[in-house]
Each structure stands twice: as structure tokens, then as C-alpha cells.
């Protein structure tokens, strides 16, 4: 029995090594048809793969669902260290820099010159670093406010366009209906806090001439922290975990009134509260300065070609077709059911039906296109997952103990900077 625990530690390692066995190495001989392995999560790949394989007998793609964003990237790292990564993989924008320093993706700048105009520059910046393109954006999540149109109207509260109005709306909800709450913004949502801090002018990570600067605790971010801390302290908004049975019950009852997040929020809500369809709407995210229109992305992913691929050119060909062509974007919209990253996909979306949660909002995709036409370029650092973990634990502790949120932001900053320095990055912060 003693050995059981030894085994636990050891199996962690073993599992890591074993995972690589799941990916079969690609490739056949020199001239015959090429087979590409592709890892991606989500729905609708059957249609995509079938359409491509039927049209391209020489480049056959084999899809594997290696788990959602987090699991998939952990497996991808291990597989590529073991030398048997797939040829292509979907990677979240937030983890792409970590993949790049681990030497997973191939620099595909030379392959993608002909699709440069397919994406806005803000979108390219999610997969392009210092002029080198490491992936092709697939889907994006420009930030928006998904809210209960009927409940806000019933309470006589206007849809907020600034964060100040958002705060006033949150307090008004509590006053008029103490059982309801405008929103919950728990500590697990690093993406949200990073996005609104970016709106306020903060850059949580930036790199210039090989030197990193971390801004998680810069003045703009700390003011963001103060603002939301004030709302939470007054009980105007909650920090309860998202999408628990408890939270979902509130969605269904109509006592949880909004979620500021990526525009994908409506799809998530439809999954857990389909009966509330038609009562929701989406509007642009509130701003810090009235009249501003820029928002950041929360979520989104791109497709990379791995360094280990024996057929990078063919792999890039497939990635370009899937993400930048008209045919591919139609599949992204209809089968994959994501909001495409490419301009052509977003134009196609503008003409399609609104999402199931808000069938009455006929201008949904037009609004979405307006929001995504100009986004704030956000650079993610090489240790976003560590930041996420520390931020969540520290902010939860601050909320529970009633200590200032600023301290949690500062503690996250310190942990991130220390980790980067330890790994050997040059960091401008003290």
C-alpha cells in the first residue's frame, strides 16, 4: 500500500508519456496520398473533414478530439516533446505563446502570404508575433454583453453602455428586486478581467526587443480591480461560480440577468437554459470612456502546423482552406457553430439567422461584425495558465477575507514575473 502513493506520483509521469501513444504518426511514402493528423475540440468536424477529403484525395485529414482547450494543449506539449505530435492542432490564443516557447508550432509565415487580407490586423495579432505567423485564426470571441432583455425592461433599467452605467444598473437591480442579480464575475474569469483591463488601456503582457513587461498590477488594472471590488462589496454583483446547477437554476428562473463575456455566451446559456430563448439579447460591451467602441477578445483559437509535421505545406493548405476560404467558413458557421475569425466568415455570419438564444434579435450578427471590426490587440504571455491559477486563488481569497482586490492583482503580477524570471525570460518589471 505504501507503494500505491509512489505509484501515484509515478503514474502522473507515465500518463504524460502514455498520452503520446494516442497520436499515430503521419505520413506515407514520398509520392502517394498524404495523411494529416489534426487535433481539435468542439462539434461538427465530420462535415468539414468529409468535404475536404472528398475534394482532396491526395491530402487526407484525420481528425481526433483530444479534449477541450486545456487538456488538448497539455497533451500537445507532451506529444511534441516525445516527437509524435499531430500535423495540425487547434490552440487557444491564450496558450499559443506557451506553445511557441515549447517549440510546438511551425513558423508558417511563408505559407500564408496569400490570405493576409482574410483577417483584420487585430485578429492576426493573436497568432502573429514579431512578424512571424504561428497559426491561422479560426474563431474569435469579441466581448459583448449578453443580457435578459425582458427582465431589464420590466425593472425599468436601461441597457448599460459604460461600466459606470453597468454599476448603476447592478445597484438598481438589487434595489428593485433583491432576489435578482445583474451578473456574477468570479475569480475564475481571468479572460474577462484581462479584457476589461485592456479596455482601460492596460497590457497584461507585452514584449519589445525580447524584453517582457507585465502589467497585471499597473494603474489601469488596479482601478479596474477597485471598481469591481466596490460592486461586489456592496452586494450589487455576485462572484458565485459560473454554470453550476445553482447558477443554471438562476438563469432558468430569470434571476441572473447578464453575462459580460465573449459573444459565445449566448450559445453557452442556450445549452443550460434553452427554455429562456427569446428573452435574451446581445449588445456591445460597456466602456470605461463614453463613446469608445473598442473591445478585447475573450476566448478564441487558431490552427497551428506543428514543427514535427512531415508535410507542413499540405497542412498549411488545409488550415488555409478551413479558416480563410468561403467554403471553410460556411462549415465553421453551420457545422462547427463558432463565430469565425476571418472577415469573409464574419460577413457570411452577418447574413445568417441569429443564435437560438435570441431569435428575435435579427441584427445580432451585424452587431457582432461591428464589434469585431476593431478590436484591441492583446498579447498573451508564455505563462497565462499560471497567471490564471494564481489569479483565481488569490482573488477568491481576497473576496473571502475581505482584503483589497488590488493585493490579489499585485500577488498575481509578482507570481507571473517571478515565474518568468526563473524560466530565464528578460522581464522589465522589478
Amino acid at each position: 500500500m505504501r507503494s500505491r502513493l509512489l505509484a501515484t506520483g509515478a503514474t502522473l509521469v507515465l500518463i504524460g508519456a502514455g498520452l503520446t501513444a494516442c497520436s499515430s504518426s503521419s505520413g506515407s511514402g514520398s509520392d502517394g496520398p498524404v495523411t494529416l493528423d489534426f487535433w481539435g475540440w468542439g462539434v461538427g468536424y465530420e462535415d468539414v473533414i468529409k468535404e475536404w477529403n472528398d475534394a482532396n484525395p491526395d491530402i487526407q485529414v484525420k481528425h481526433t478530439d483530444a479534449g477541450g482547450g486545456d487538456e488538448s494543449s497539455a497533451k500537445l506539449l507532451t506529444a511534441s516533446r516525445a516527437g509524435n505530435a499531430p500535423d495540425l492542432a487547434l490552440v487557444e490564443f491564450t496558450t499559443l505563446p506557451a506553445m511557441i516557447v515549447a517549440d510546438v508550432p511551425l513558423d508558417i509565415t511563408d505559407y500564408v502570404g496569400d490570405i493576409e487580407d482574410a483577417f483584420t490586423s487585430g485578429t492576426w495579432d493573436q497568432t502573429r508575433f514579431d512578424g512571424a505567423v504561428y497559426g491561422i485564426p479560426q474563431d474569435v470571441g469579441p466581448m459583448a454583453l449578453t443580457y435578459r432583455e425582458d427582465r431589464l425592461a420590466e425593472l425599468g433599467i436601461p441597457v448599460p453602455t459604460t461600466w459606470e452605467e453597468f454599476g448603476a444598473a447592478a445597484r438598481a437591480v438589487k434595489e428593485k428586486d433583491p432576489n435578482s442579480v445583474l451578473t456574477s464575475l468570479p475569480a475564475s474569469e481571468l479572460g474577462f478581467y484581462a479584457g476589461v483591463a485592456a479596455q482601460a488601456g492596460s497590457q497584461w503582457w507585452s514584449i519589445e526587443d525580447g524584453v517582457w513587461t507585465v502589467g497585471i498590477a499597473d494603474e489601469a488594472s488596479l482601478e479596474v480591480a477597485d471598481f469591481f471590488e466596490g460592486l461586489v462589496r456592496d452586494g450589487a454583483i455576485s462572484t458565485e461560480p459560473l454554470l453550476t446547477p445553482e447558477y443554471n437554476a438562476k438563469l432558468n428562473e430569470g434571476t441572473m440577468l447578464s453575462w459580460p463575456a465573449g459573444i459565445w455566451a449566448g450559445g453557452v446559456f442556450y445549452g443550460v437554459a434553452p427554455d429562456t430563448a427569446g428573452k435574451w439579447a446581445m449588445s456591445p460591451l460597456p466602456q470605461w470612456t463614453p463613446g469608445d467602441t473598442k473591445v478585447a477578445y475573450q476566448g478564441g483559437s487558431g490552427m497551428i502546423v506543428t514543427k514535427g509535421s512531415e508535410h507542413p505545406e499540405e497542412a498549411a493548405e488545409f488550415a488555409k482552406w478551413f479558416n480563410a476560404s468561403e467554403q471553410g467558413n460556411k462549415l465553421l458557421l453551420d457545422s462547427r457553430q463558432v463565430y469565425p475569425a476571418s472577415s469573409v466568415g464574419q460577413e457570411m455570419a452577418a447574413e445568417s439567422e441569429p443564435p437560438a438564444l435570441m431569435p428575435q434579435q435579427t441584427d445580432f450578427y451585424q452587431t457582432a461584425a461591428d464589434i469585431s471590426s476593431e478590436t484591441i490587440p492583446v498579447t498573451w504571455g508564455p505563462n497565462v495558465n499560471l497567471a490564471k491559477s494564481v489569479f483565481e486563488d488569490q482573488l477568491n481569497k481576497a473576496i473571502a477575507d475581505g482584503t483589497p482586490w488590488r493585493d490579489a492583482f499585485a500577488a498575481t503580477q509578482k507570481a507571473v514575473v517571478d515565474d518568468m524570471k526563473k524560466s530565464g525570460y528578460e522581464v522589465a518589471n522589478d
Binding site: R4, T8, I100, A249
Partner: protein, 295 residues
């Protein structure tokens, strides 16, 4: 025929080497390495290098890891005595000759052990969440508000409860089996001497099932150190379980979320050594006591 013993031992040795020895040695080797940045590419490249004991120093000086052992200690103080106490109580009750429906009771108490840990934790999670909890429903009807199962120090009791619910049956079977092995003559002799059922239980049965209780204690302590599934399953339901709540959760985070396998390997090695030390300590104390009593 010299070959025969080796052939018989072969499969066990091969399995041991492949699935125990090599992974353990690999983990130890990995714990002495780390990913460090080298020049190249846009941001540089992280490559594996030898760093000696740096990971161990990092792990041992991490206040969060120490705090997580503190949390385990509180959890263990609730879960272990209650699990073993209830298991012993049920085993003794089932062993009383006058008790009816033994087979049924034994099965009923044992069944929770057959429920997979994650399923049990999910099921209890629903019973803890204020809006779905039947217990909180009753207290709310009484005007006392919901029970704080998942917040603050209530968590320890809630987590321990899941372990107790799942563990009592298994431990009871071990103790009960040991009880069935006690020869009837001893009871007869005790009865002739005028002992009642309670006295027989406390003076005859409990001392004789000592080894079984010791075995279950060691199992329970190791189980405590390996606490992982329950807090991990309840984590999405509450803000009060951090990513580093239990040591194994920290190891999981390092290995699979923050891409720091070497640190995870170092923590695993420390946890494994700690478990071995604790087990030996308990066995040592008990053995000394027993030998002391005999002499």
C-alpha cells in the same frame, strides 16, 4: 529445472519493473530537471536542463503546499476517526447474535463503497448546493437560511462526510471478517464468566480485531494523503476550494495546467516519502506498544 522459479516470478518482476520501478526512477530523474529559456525564435525556447535540487527547494519553500497539508490534517482528523469508529461500531453490531437482517444491513452499509468516488462527490455536491440541497431546503423552511456546506470551514465537514459515507462499508467488512474469525469458545468462556454482550464486545472482540483496525487506520491515513477526487469534483461548485487545496491538486496543476512537470515530480517524490515515513511511524508505534504489553 532451475528455470522454474524464475519463470514463476517473471511476470510479477516484469510488471513491477515496467509499471513501478521505471516510472519511479523516471519521476525522480525528472524532479532534478526544469524547463529553462534559451535563445531562438520569437520568444526564445524552453528546453529541459539539469537543475539539481532546485525544484525540491521551490516546493518545500512554497507556503501554499504547507497550508494544503494543514487542510489535509483538519480533514483527516474529522474523516479518519469517524470512518473507523463507525466501521467498528457497525461491525460489532452485526456480530451480535440477536441482530436480525444481517445480510441486508451488511450490503446496505457496503453499497456506498461500490459507488465511484466522482459519482459520490457529484451526488453530494448537489445535496450541498443551496438551491438543490434537501437539507438546506428544510432549514430554509424553518427560517434559518441555507446550511453553508461549501463555504468556509463547513467544507471540511462536507468533504469528510463524502469520504465517511463511501469508506465505512469497506472498513466495516474488513473488521467484520476479522470478527468472524474469532473462535466461539472464547465467547463461551466469557459468558460462563458472566460477561454480557457489551463486555464481550469491548473486552474480547475489540482487542482481538486490533490488527484489522491497524490495517484500516493505515489505509485511511494513506487515503487522506491522496485526497483528490472529492475536492476536485466539488471545486467548480464553490470559490472556497483553491487549485492548491490538497497536495495532489497542486501536483495535478503543475503537471497538466502550468506545464511544470519537474515541479510536479518533485512534489510527488516528497509526498511519497512522507507517506512511507508516516506509515512506518504508525506501524512502529503500534508494534512497540504490543511488544511492551507482552513483556
Amino acid at each position: 529445472m532451475r528455470l522454474a522459479p524464475y519463470l514463476f516470478a517473471g511476470p510479477a518482476v516484469v510488471l513491477y519493473v515496467v509499471f513501478m520501478l521505471i516510472p519511479v526512477l523516471y519521476a525522480i530523474w525528472l524532479s532534478l530537471r526544469a524547463y529553462r529559456l534559451q535563445a531562438g525564435g520569437t520568444f526564445g525556447r524552453r528546453v529541459e536542463v539539469f537543475v539539481g535540487l532546485e525544484n525540491y527547494i521551490g516546493v518545500l519553500s512554497d507556503p501554499e503546499l504547507l497550508a494544503s497539508f494543514g487542510r489535509l490534517a483538519i480533514y483527516g482528523l474529522i474523516a479518519v476517526p469517524l470512518t473507523l469508529g463507525l466501521a467498528l461500531l457497525f461491525a460489532l453490531l452485526l456480530d451480535v447474535p440477536a441482530v436480525r437482517a444481517k445480510r441486508f444491513s451488511r450490503t446496505a452499509i457496503f453499497i456506498p463503497y461500490a459507488v465511484p468516488g466522482v459519482v459520490a462527490a457529484l451526488m453530494w455536491g448537489f445535496m450541498y448546493l443551496p438551491s438543490t440541497s434537501p437539507f438546506s431546503y428544510l432549514t430554509e423552511q424553518a427560517g434559518w437560511g441555507p446550511i453553508p456546506f461549501l463555504t468556509g470551514s463547513g467544507l471540511f465537514g462536507s468533504l469528510a462526510n463524502i469520504a465517511i459515507w463511501g469508506g465505512v462499508g469497506f472498513n466495516m467488512i474488513i473488521i467484520y471478517t476479522s470478527l468472524r474469525g474469532i473462535p466461539d469458545e472464547l465467547y463461551e468462556a466469557a459468558r460462563l464468566d458472566g460477561a454480557n454482550e457489551l463486555q464481550i464486545a469491548l473486552r474480547v472482540k475489540v482487542p482481538l480485531v486490533g490488527p484489522a483496525i491497524l490495517l484500516t487506520t493505515v489505509f485511511a491515513l494513506i487515503g487522506t494523503l491522496q485526497l483528490y477526487g472529492e475536492p476536485m469534483t466539488l471545486k467548480p461548485m464553490t470559490n472556497d476550494i483553491s487549485q492548491t487545496w490538497a497536495p495532489l491538486m497542486t501536483i495535478y496543476r503543475d503537471a497538466f495546467l502550468t506545464d511544470n512537470l519537474p515541479a510536479a515530480a518533485a512534489s510527488s517524490t516528497i509526498l511519497a516519502l512522507g507517506t512511507v515515513a508516516l506509515s512506518l511511524l504508525i506501524l512502529g508505534i503500534v508494534n512497540r506498544k504490543r511488544f511492551g504489553a507482552r513483556s
